[in-house]
Symmetry: C2
Subunit: 252 residues, 2 copies
Amino acid sequence: MRALVTNDDGIHAPGLRVLRERLARDWDVRVVAPDRERSAVAHGITLHQPLRIFTVDLDNGHPGISVSGTPADCVKLAVLELLDFRPDIVFSGINPGPNVGVNLNYSGTVSAAREAAILGIPAIAVSVCSPEARHFEAAAECAALLGAKVLEHGLPRGTFLNVNVPDGDRGEIRGVKISRQGGARLEEAFHKRFDPRNLVYYWQGSETHLFGEDPEEDGVAVREGYISVTPVRCDMTEYALLEDLASWEIGW
Amino acid sequence: MRALVTNDDGIHAPGLRVLRERLARDWDVRVVAPDRERSAVAHGITLHQPLRIFTVDLDNGHPGISVSGTPADCVKLAVLELLDFRPDIVFSGINPGPNVGVNLNYSGTVSAAREAAILGIPAIAVSVCSPEARHFEAAAECAALLGAKVLEHGLPRGTFLNVNVPDGDRGEIRGVKISRQGGARLEEAFHKRFDPRNLVYYWQGSETHLFGEDPEEDGVAVREGYISVTPVRCDMTEYALLEDLASWEIGW
């Protein structure tokens, strides 16, 4: 089986290294990842600039391809141009930091998995759900186990998995919870400051607050010591509203 | 009623000007928009840089605030810091170009509306669904009509409207269709080229292909001469998969 690995922290990030090493035990693994940190770029793609690629040495002489673009660019370019095969599965991560709740909108890690799903390839986004993430090994093991299950069962077209793992050793993690995207959100505040010329600037807070009490929520599951696995859909339509909207007299 | 207007084409874009002028007939309108073109940045936000703001003169001396960030940054900063009121509604646009199908992932225009919905404010993203969009007036009129209806009926929390208008005068447009996100997608190809030093680069195609035959799809509705109005949800969970995943023996 052949896997593409990418991330949003850049091709030399430690989370990607641990993930690649673990997956390489089971699969033929190729790495195509951004040439630098690109977190919070969401599902952005590069249309107004060319993309440059370079072959880089990863750990133990393993080669990877760095791309001067976003995580979504990496997946598109890898699948459509760079790889000499179509991957059976795409992994994105391991992201150091929570990708739960509202962060699914902002996350480059999650968007790489979504881009794979759009291209019809099963995908898993993996994060260690702590801003000081240190334990990538348990998350990598979880990714490998889940990847095997995804290849066994398949995923419906237009869906992928978003996985958040507590920051601990395997023995400290209580198990796996299938969860829904919850109410966790980024710190909703800008710090207003003045530069050396006394001109104002704003800097956005970025701490993730794990709100919510419902154990079915992604952030709550992790807070309680579980690996959170959320099935994500690409179709954004709110079907429940179609009928209601059709009854509006818009007056065109 | 008070409206915030933003876009992803930059504060001086003609689509924003036409929209602001039309909405100002009915509402107190404030403009907070990116200082430059930021299309295809999706729902990216700026965490690693400060944001600078400047007051700029729009048409007829109307002031606006430009922000050195993304469309989502503009909405967050406007609502949390810059405005002296909470807007009743947020409009994003008018985007020249289709925001249908897969483009909902990449679009800064759509993401600004999504950010408003996340903040609990009703929102409408408006695009003229043609790469050579020339007729913003009909789209602005449609935005004003729909905005009034949204304020009358409300929208469920965590939802917003994505509107695509044919590129024509009002009389040429056949009506309004409530639609779902369809199968339209960006050109799936990279142009491989060589720079003056004979080094390879890739440039992503960006033409939108309006695939699909189902008249309930956004792109098809516009192709047939209708305004497409799609209700979009912020919750990305694929609920239909929760039970199935719970039956997997992941083996942790």
